[in-house]
Homo-oligomer: 210 residues x 2
Amino acid sequence: MNQRRSQILDAAAVLIGRQGYTATSVDDVIRESRLSGKSHFYHYFKSKEELGYEVLDRQFERFAERGLAILREPMIDPLERLYLFIDSLVAAHAERGCQGGSPFGTLASEMADQHEGFRLRIAHVFSRWSSQIQSLLWEARPQLNDDVDAVRLSRFVIAALEGALMMSRVKRDIALMEGIAEDLKRFIGTHLRASAASQSASGSPSLPNA
Amino acid sequence: MNQRRSQILDAAAVLIGRQGYTATSVDDVIRESRLSGKSHFYHYFKSKEELGYEVLDRQFERFAERGLAILREPMIDPLERLYLFIDSLVAAHAERGCQGGSPFGTLASEMADQHEGFRLRIAHVFSRWSSQIQSLLWEARPQLNDDVDAVRLSRFVIAALEGALMMSRVKRDIALMEGIAEDLKRFIGTHLRASAASQSASGSPSLPNA
DNA sequence: TGCAATTAGGACCGATCGGTCCTAGTTTAT
DNA sequence: ATAAACTAGGACCGATCGGTCCTAATTGCA
């Protein structure tokens, strides 16, 4: 029933991630998901736009389940989780051979000034992503300086990661993203309370003092 | 002679910046630059691709002359110049009403995995941009820690700025970019030698411990 | 058994794409 | 004055775009 839909959405996600929304034609999607023809596709989706929306929703759901899940691991120190999350994005990008950056950033650049529907949906995606990091920072507040602005810091993290993805994609060099990821972790580390001094970026953070 | 060419390139730059390369048709460019027809356009450019290349070159030249020029101001403290540069990008984006982000980042997201010619040219743009910041950091080295990696830091700055542009474009909220810019300046400030404490970002960086 | 959903596949639509070709009038340098 | 460059404008090309319509075979479920 929705198996075919999933098939189509998966194929479309790959294509849109690789080529962008505009450059991905409905025929491309049909070919990739082995449908029998246009009518077969339009049996499941009423327009290319609707397909795009659903692909975006699906991409974020998957990202929230798989990628963002690290941020919620209850057994790991919050900041350590954030570092692991950053590393996981680097690893994922390395696995893809530095191709096809963030599905959100790519779509954002393409559609933000072009299509209000997409713009709002992507804004929502970033907002939810940001919220996840804010929760984590809230959890980590005993270790953090009192003046840490969780909203701002979470946005900074996302921006740096998105920029890193874009640049290492252009240069096709994962080392670029690795360097930025390390710097980003170091920056997060500078928000630690002065009392907790034994910080190392990829090493384990120290416990809060009394 | 090349006045018409400039006219075309300017129009194309605006359109490509707003809609992207693929979504900008040759007819759009013709309309916007008030040419008489297709042949008139193809009198000056042999293909849309060549137009795209020249637009990109021109955009970077302008950026190097106007935007990046701040980085070379000999009468201002190097790091102060870097902060001013960051602020100038924020201001420019605010003036544009948070629309049409970085011409390079936008084109990068669109073309990186799609068109090798563009990918290489954009990589070159980022490389030159990065070099400018590296020179500045080299100038500032008496104030900086010995272990500062200029290449890495310069890339970090660009990535954060590009990410900030993209996100504040999606959210249409300049405050987002302002926050990231401030954090970025603070991060740069953390690279200061412990001995040089009296630095003014726009919020002053961290205190050196005794 | 029978009805509904799914699959199959092709013809077709108007619009737009990048690009070519052709004719002819108008500037501009030499 | 004369050739070369520029401006003007339209017809046209094959390809592709998103999308519709239609017929018919096949499947799954009640």
